[in-house]
Symmetry: C3
Subunit: 352 residues, 3 copies
C-alpha cells in the first residue's frame, strides 16, 4: 500500500486531489479497479480517462485539465509508472539461502544474501556475486561468473567460461555459451565442428528474454555490452558484439561476427547475416522482419520486408518480381525509342 503522497515523492510528482488516498495495485486505464493506480502516456488513450475505475492516475501536465480522478503530475508518466509498478510485482523470489538440493562446487566463490533454488548447479571456480538469484534447475558451468543482484530464472543453462554482469535478468529456458556454429569439411568431405574456445561476456543491467541462445566465440569472445535489452527467442551467434543500450526485439537474430553499435533497435524477426562479418553503426533502427546482409554505416531507420496483401493480389504480383530486371531494361528501351521519335519530329533530318 502506498499513499499518493508517497508515490509523488518517489516519482518527483505533484498530487492533485487527496494525498492520503491509498493505492493497493496497478491497472490499465480500461481495466483498473478501485484501489489501483493507472497512467496515461499516449494521447490515443486519453478518452479512456473519463471512464476509468482507477483511484488515481499518473499523467503529464498537458492532460491535467478535466481529469475526473486524483492525479499525480510527472514529466514521464510511463517511467514513473514503471517505478511504482515494481512495488506491486507479485513474483515471489527464490527463498533466501541455498536450497539443500543445490550442487555448489567447493571451489566456487559465493557472495552473500544468495537465493539459490532447488537443483541449481554451480560449477568449479565459479564466482557468484552478492544477492544473486538462481531459480530452480539453473546450471552455471565451470569458471563462469554471475554479478551482484543478477536474477537467473528457471532452467537457464549457462555454459563454462561465461561472464554475466550485475543487475541482469535472464529468463527461463535460455542457453548462454553453447558452441558457436563453426563447421568445416575435411579432406573426405565429412563435416567437422571447429572447437569453440572463446567465451561469452555480458555486461551490467542486461535483460535476456526466455528461450534465447547466445553462443560462445570461436576463439575471441561474444560480447553483450551494458544495458542491452534482449527479447524472447533472440539468437546471437559466435563472436557477435552488441553495443550498449541496444534493443533486440523478439526473434531477431545475428549470424556469426555481426557487430552492432550502441543504441541500435532491431524490431521483431530481423536477421543480420552476411558472407563475412557485418557491422552496423550506432543509432540504427531496423524494421520488423528485415534481412540485412551488408554493413550499415549511418544511423537512421532501415527496412526491407515486403507487406501482406490478399492472396490473389500477392500471387499475381510476386511472380513478376523475376521480370523486374527485364522490365527495367524494356522500359529504358521504350523511353529511348520515344526520345528518338521526339528528336525526329523536332528535326526530321536527324532520322537515319
Amino acid at each position: 500500500m502506498l499513499s499518493l503522497a508517497e508515490i509523488a515523492q518517489r516519482t518527483h510528482g505533484r498530487v492533485i486531489g487527496d494525498e492520503l488516498i491509498c493505492i493497493s495495485g496497478v491497472g490499465s486505464l480500461a481495466n483498473a479497479r478501485c484501489g489501483d493506480l493507472t497512467y496515461l502516456s499516449n494521447q490515443r488513450y486519453r478518452s479512456q480517462l473519463q471512464d476509468t475505475h482507477a483511484s488515481a492516475v499518473l499523467l503529464s501536465e498537458q492532460n491535467v485539465a478535466n481529469c475526473p480522478i486524483p492525479a499525480i503530475v510527472v514529466g514521464n508518466p510511463q517511467l514513473a509508472f514503471a517505478k511504482i509498478a515494481r512495488e506491486f510485482d507479485k513474483r515471489q523470489r527464490v527463498a533466501k539461502g541455498i536450497d539443500p538440493t543445490a550442487r555448489i562446487d567447493s571451489s566456487a566463490q559465493l557472495g552473500k544474501d544468495l537465493r539459490l533454488g532447488p537443483n541449481v548447479i554451480v560449477g568449479s571456480q565459479c564466482e557468484i556475486g552478492d544477492g544473486v538469484e538462481l531459480s530452480a534447475n539453473v546450471s552455471i558451468g565451470a569458471h563462469s561468473s554471475v554479478g551482484d543482484h543478477t536474477s537467473v530464472r528457471e532452467n537457464v543453462v549457462v555454459y563454462h567460461d561465461v561472464q554475466i554482469g550485475s543487475h541482469c535478468t535472464i529468463h527461463a529456458n535460455t542457453s548462454i555459451g553453447a558452441d558457436g556454429f563453426g563447421i568445416t569439411a575435411d579432406d573426405e568431405g565429412q563435416l567437422q565442428e571447429i572447437p569453440q574456445v572463446g567465451r561469452v561476456r555480458i555486461g551490467d543491467d542486461v535483460l535476456v528474454g526466455a528461450g534465447v541462445t547466445i553462443d560462445r566465440g570461436t576463439i575471441d569472445d561474444t560480447v553483450i555490452h551494458d544495458n542491452v535489452k534482449i527479447d524472447d527467442q533472440v539468437h546471437i551467434a559466435h563472436n557477435c558484439v552488441v553495443g550498449a543500450h541496444s534493443i533486440l526485439c523478439g526473434r531477431s537474430s545475428l549470424a556469426g561476427s555481426v557487430t552492432l553499435g550502441e543504441y541500435c533497435v532491431l524490431a521483431g524477426g530481423v536477421g543480420i547475416a552476411g558472407e563475412g562479418p557485418v557491422s552496423i553503426a550506432g543509432g540504427v533502427e531496423i524494421g520488423a522482419m528485415t534481412f540485412v546482409s551488408r554493413d550499415i554505416t549511418e544511423p537512421g531507420r532501415y527496412s526491407g520486408a515486403t507487406l501482406h496483401t490478399d492472396n490473389r493480389t500477392w500471387r499475381r504480383n510476386v511472380l513478376r518480381l523475376n521480370e523486374l530486371d527485364s522490365m527495367a531494361k524494356r522500359l529504358r528501351h521504350v523511353e529511348n525509342m520515344l526520345q528518338k521519335r521526339e528528336r525526329i519530329d523536332a528535326d526530321p533530318s536527324s532520322a537515319e
Copy 2:
C-alpha cells in the same frame, strides 16, 4: 489390440471384410506392416493402396472400389484414424502419484489422480486440477493454476500468476509468463524495464508446442482462448489475445498487443507486428513467412513473402526493387507521351 468390429464401432464406420481381424498398430500406406491399420484421406496417395502391407484401411465411400485389403468406411478417415491411433500411442505417462523429489508448497491445492514427476516444483497458492500430469523439472510459479487433465511436459517453466485451462498439452522447454518486453529510456538515456504485472490466461483444450514463449501482460493479461493450437517455437508477446480455434504454425510470432480473431491460421514463420496494436479479424489465414504490419478487417487469405529463385535471377532482380517507384512514374510518363501522340495523330490541330 482392436478388432475391426471394435474400430468400426468407435469410428461409426462400416467394415468391409473380416470383422475379427485384429489390429496391433498403425502405419502409413507406404510403411505399414502386417497387423497395422492405415488410412487414405488424400487422393494423392490413392495408388499406394494397391501395395500397402497394412491389414486394414480407413477410407471414405468414394475409395471403396478395388480396395485390395479389408476396409472400414467412414466419413472422415483422418479424424477416424486420429481417434484409433491414440490407442497405440506408446508414450508412458508420468507415474501416478507425487514423486518424492517434487517440491509442492503446502499452500497449493491439489486435485486427485495426479502424476507429478521428479523435481517438479509447485509454488504457493497454486491450484492443480484432477488428473494433471507434470513431467520432470516442470516448475509452476506461485498463484498459478493448471486445469483438469492437462499434461505439461519436461522442463516447462510456468511463471507466477498464470492460468492454464483443462485438457491442455504443453510441450518441453516452453516458457509461459516471462516478462513482456517493455522498455523505456530514463532521463539519462539508460534503458529501464517496465514491470510486467499482468498475467497469462490460457483456455481449455489448448496445445502449446516445444520451445514456445508466451509472455505475461504488462498490466492487463495475455489471453489464449479455448482450443487454440500452437506449434513449436512460436512467440506470443505481452497483451496479445488469441481467439478460440486459431492455429499458429511453427515459428510464427505476435508482437505486443496483437489481437487475433477466432479460427485464424498463421502458417510457419508469420510475423505480426505494427507500430501500435494490430487487430486481425476472425477467419483470416496468413501464408508462410508473411509480415503483417497493420489490421486485417476481413476474413480471407493473405500473403506477402517473396519466393525463391536461382541466385543469379534473384540478384539481378532484387536490386531493382528500389527502382520500382521510379519505374512506375516513368511508365506513366511514357504512356502519357504516347497518348498525346495518338491524340495528335487523330487530330493534328491539337498539337501545341
Copy 3:
C-alpha cells in the same frame, strides 16, 4: 602443452622455426597472446600476421613468405587448427559415473564409461551406449537410445522412442521428439490433435544446437541422417528427412514432410514450407531468410529474400509491389503501340 613438433605431427604439417616451442593455448591473429597458437586461412586477415602476438601460426604454403613468427605449414589451416584447438577446450565434462540423483529405469541397458549428471532421467527400455555424457536435467524417454560417445547437454528433453546415433552433440534446452503438429477439425469445428506415433531417428556424428525442436513423425519417422549439422533454434517438423552432410544454420526451419537432400546448406532463417510435401535436391544452398514453397530439383544456389534500404526508399517502393502485374501489362501495351507505329512508319499502308 604441445610442442610445435607434436602439433606438426598431428596435423601432418611441416615446422618452420624452433620445433621445441611450447603452445599453451589458442587465439585469433588479432588477440592471441604469447604461448598461443593461431591460424591464417583467409587472405582477408593476411595483414594481421605482421602484428600478432601468437607464438606460432598454422598456414598454407602460399603464406609462408615473410611470416614473422614460427609456423606450421599445412594443407588446410582451419581444419588443422580445429584439430589442435580441441586440446585446449576448457569445458569440464560431467563427472564419470552415474550421479546419485540420476533416475535410471532398471530396464534400461547401460554402456560403460558413462557420465550421467545430476537429475538425469533415463526411461524404461532405453539403450545408452558407451562413453555417453548426459548433463544435468537431461531426460531420455522410454524406448529411446543414445549411441556411443554422444554428449547431451543440460536440460535437453528427448521424448520416447527416439534414436540418437553415436558421436553426436546435442546442446542445451533442445527438445527432440515432441509431437508433430497435426491438427484436424471434427464435425463440430473443434480442432483435434492427430496422435503422433512415429519416431525420430538421428544418425551418427550429428550436431544439434541449443533451443532446437525436432518433432516426431505422425506415423512414419522424422529422420536426420549422418553428419548433419544443425545450429541453434532450428525447427524440424514431423516426417522431415534431412540428408547426410547437410548444414542448417540458425533459425532455419522445415515444415512437415520436407525432404532435404545430401550436402545441402540452409543459411540463417530459411523457411521451407509448401502446401504438400516439399523435396529439395542434394547440393542445394539456400540464402538467408529465403522462403521456399516448392520443390528444388537441381543442385545450385537459390535465394529469395529482399534487401534492406533506408526507410524512405523502402516505403516508396514496397507499396508499388502490388502494381507490378499491372505495370508489366502496361509496359507490354506500350511496346505494342510503339511497334505498331514503327510498322506504320515503315509501311504507311499497313495502318488500318
